[in-house]
Symmetry: C2
Subunit: 152 residues, 2 copies
């Protein structure tokens, strides 16, 4: 049984996430997903829309996901030590230095192999959390503009 | 095998949707989900954020869902005739007149039982598509205000 681990924010679930998880699972039999905590998301990119518990609960509802966990804040390798995956799958756009990860895993006697996944190209332009947010904001701005025009 | 049918927009998937689907499935063995088309959503409430194909694809990824279909636009009973469910589960907030549905089913020789589901009370305040959109807009307005203050 080959255990694959994949990590992410998974805010506003979209088909880009599904593609990422399916690509990850192709490398093994069991897919363990680590959901980043709100603090981690804030530090790395921005305030999440959905809090960590909701993001974890939703990810757990997917057929493709066998196990789901919240990550740790202080030490990102702590969850790797607990899950002990055979493969760590990294998304094409996830900013991780593979060499640094490999060295750290070696130091901790963890034998996981790092796999960089390919880009998701064939989907809709809504397959991204930022793009979904942008569509909502554009619709809101358009509505506000229409209301201003109608008031005049 | 008792077949349950549940219908909805399922835009910006959230735990309220999951609760609805789980409550529906409690009434049978197989859960068939009908996703409303973009035209239907526009007529009934508002412009959906995610187009119908994405909403359908995401719903199909849930463990709880056995079969997923797009609804028809002209005749909402056409999909009922195809699925032939034993139970039609209606959400607590779905505006459907149960008597009208019952009569229409009878006319078409469909024997499905209508079940009205209970309200989802224990979740986060983000368990609603409108609330998720509102949170995104509030964050955007706050950011804009901060930028204006910083410019002064």
């Amino acid at each position: 049984m080959v255990k694959v681990m994949a990590t992410g924010t998974f805010d506003l679930l979209h088909m880009g996430h599904i593609y990422f998880l399916k690509e990850a699972k192709k490398h093994g039999d069991t897919l363990c997903v680590v959901v980043a905590t709100d603090t981690t998301v804030r530090n790395l990119k921005h305030e999440p829309v959905n809090p960590e518990q909701i993001r974890l609960d939703l990810i757990s509802e997917l057929t493709i996901v066998d196990e789901a966990y919240l990550g740790y804040e202080d030490d990102m390798y702590k969850i790797v030590e607990e899950i002990r995956p055979d493969i760590i799958a990294i998304g094409y756009d996830q900013i991780h230095n593979e060499e640094i990860i490999k060295n750290e895993l070696k130091k901790r006697n963890l034998s996981a192999k790092i796999v960089r996944l390919s880009e998701y190209k064939c989907g809709s332009d809504l397959d991204g959390t930022r793009r979904i947010i942008q569509k909502i904001i554009s619709a809101y701005e358009f509505q506000k503009k229409m209301e201003q025009i109608e008031k005049k």
